[in-house]
């Protein structure tokens, strides 16, 4: 298969030694196997995330996203922007949609970009890594490089919010998206059926500002995974991953639960199935170790 090339938008949390650095590690390994070349958008900036709204306002948020688009159009012409972070993808896509829909916004944004000598031409497409996998490869293609099966491991596919709403992956439903389950099945693992917290919000950025309310959400998400017999949770979103993994110990402490559920990225599962090492898959970056996967990497 010919090499596929994309303009990569890793986002703040996937940087080296940031909270989702293991996401970046596993994505790199996965892309190597799939012969995908990711070129970082030079000098990319933060998307503003959803929480940026209060202080950031409307145009500043759109303008900083447009800065990334303009940089990609200039330096990586013809390549789709691919984000791995749910919030980056959402922030970018939303900005692009708003710009496409309003000539006023487009004009104002380019006026702002001109302050840094940039111009957005509205040519670039914004995509999530999951879209690349499903649309540009497809489950059958993704199966081909498999070296190991994830047989015997039960995963709760936790899709969360922002890769699911308001855009979502084409052809999936908002209430019960299936792509993570299909991906798990493709890799030989067992998706748990009827996982009812699949699209529940983890609290998002409010995990910091409203910890108790968010931890109630997280508790539901983890508890239901246990109830449905899952051994691990798999997710496409860095904030979901962090919130659901990191706060389990807090919840245990406060509420007397005994949660110890590993929370992984789909890219980590794929790296393991493609024969990657523990390190390739970023499994050493888990706060809650995914022992069953570690065993598979050593097989």
């Amino acid at each position: 298969m010919a090499k596929k090339e994309y303009a990569f938008y890793p986002g703040c949390s996937s940087q080296l030694k940031a909270s989702a650095s293991n996401y970046l590690t596993s994505v790199s390994s996965m892309c190597k196997t799939l012969d995908v070349k990711l070129t970082e958008i030079p000098d990319w900036n933060c998307c503003g995330a959803s929480i940026g709204y209060a202080e950031g306002g409307e145009l500043p948020r759109i303008a900083i996203n447009a800065r990334n688009f303009a940089l990609a159009e200039t330096h990586l012409p013809g390549q789709d922007i691919v984000a791995t972070c749910a919030a980056c993808w959402l922030g970018a896509r939303e900005s692009k949609d708003r710009l496409d829909a309003s000539s006023t916004l487009m004009k104002e944004t380019n006026e702002a970009l001109a302050a840094a000598g940039l111009h957005y031409k509205a040519e670039v497409k914004i995509r999530h890594m999951v879209e690349v996998l499903i649309e540009d490869f497809g489950y059958d293609e993704l199966k081909k490089p498999m070296k190991k099966s994830l047989e015997g491991v039960k995963f709760a596919g936790y899709v969360g919010c922002q890769t699911n709403r308001p855009f979502g992956i084409d052809g999936e439903s908002f209430e019960n998206p299936k792509y993570l389950d299909k991906l798990v099945e493709t890799l030989g693992g067992e998706p748990v059926e009827h996982y009812d917290q699949k699209v529940t919000c983890c609290g998002g950025a409010l995990a910091f500002s409203e910890p108790e309310k968010s931890q109630k959400q997280i508790r539901d998400i983890v508890e239901s995974a246990y109830d449905h017999g899952a051994e691990m949770i798999v997710t496409p979103c860095p904030l979901c991953q962090a919130n659901v993994e990191v706060y389990q110990s807090e919840i245990n402490k406060k509420q007397g639960t005994q949660f110890n559920m590993p929370v992984l990225y789909y890219s980590q599962l794929m790296t393991v199935a493609y024969g990657g090492s523990m390190k390739d898959a970023g499994l050493d970056g888990q706060l809650i170790r995914a022992e069953k996967l570690e065993v598979i990497t050593k097989k």
Partner: protein, 206 residues
């Protein structure tokens, strides 16, 4: 009352709906709500709100300016977009909530000490400074936002998590001395400043 706020009151008198339509992000959608209440039933933090989006929209139409802008409710939005995808009228409810919060914040009449309001400001300041988010500084600013003593308490409480993240190479203690940043920081700041200037002018907030 801040200057912006008194000016707005004088300008729109009792037509709060018009004020929202002109000054709040996606505010022109408020009149399209058909009061079904699906948003209220779809919100993950629904139990913690005093006013559901449905109620806020009704209050806007009824001209309850003060009650709406000082409400704590829109600050509860986790940006999960559940209301957006379920709204039969396809109102961008998440954005309207953001817009209302942001407008109230801008006028200076949003609830003081509202934790999400504080965090949102810290977050934006953090990213605006270097163009990318510095997670360690973000976390520390958050813990110390209420002062040194309570900050140390919170930080100690979360210490095991922090250390775990450092050990897992997912939190960089060296970031306190700088960390990631843009090369063209000057250009980035220029864009932000210009964008803010244009938007303020359009919304009459200069």
């Amino acid at each position: 009352m801040s200057d912006h706020n008194s000016q707005a009151v004088a300008r729109y008198r009792n037509n709060f709906l018009k004020e929202v339509e002109e000054r709040v992000e996606e505010g022109e959608w408020v009149k399209m709500c058909m009061q079904c209440g699906v948003c209220a039933g779809s919100c993950p933090f629904g139990a913690h709100w005093q006013h559901s989006p449905q109620k806020l929209f009704m209050m806007i139409r009824a001209g309850k300016r003060e009650e709406v802008l000082t409400s704590d409710s829109m600050w509860m939005c986790t940006s999960c977009y559940n209301c957006v995808v379920r709204c039969p009228r396809q109102l961008p409810i998440t954005h309207i909530m953001h817009g209302l919060a942001s407008y109230a914040h801008r006028l200076g009449i949003a609830p003081k000490g509202q934790p999400t309001r504080e965090f949102a400001k810290i977050f934006w300041d953090n990213l605006a400074k270097k163009g990318r988010v510095n997670e360690l500084k973000l976390t520390l600013s958050l813990y110390f936002k209420d002062g040194l003593v309570s900050g140390i308490k919170t930080a100690m409480g979360m210490q095991s998590i922090g250390l775990g993240m450092v050990k897992a190479k997912r939190l960089n203690p060296m970031e306190i001395f700088g960390g990631h940043g843009l090369k063209d920081l000057k250009g980035f700041h220029a864009i932000l400043a210009k964008a803010r200037e244009i938007e303020d002018k359009r919304k009459g907030l200069t």
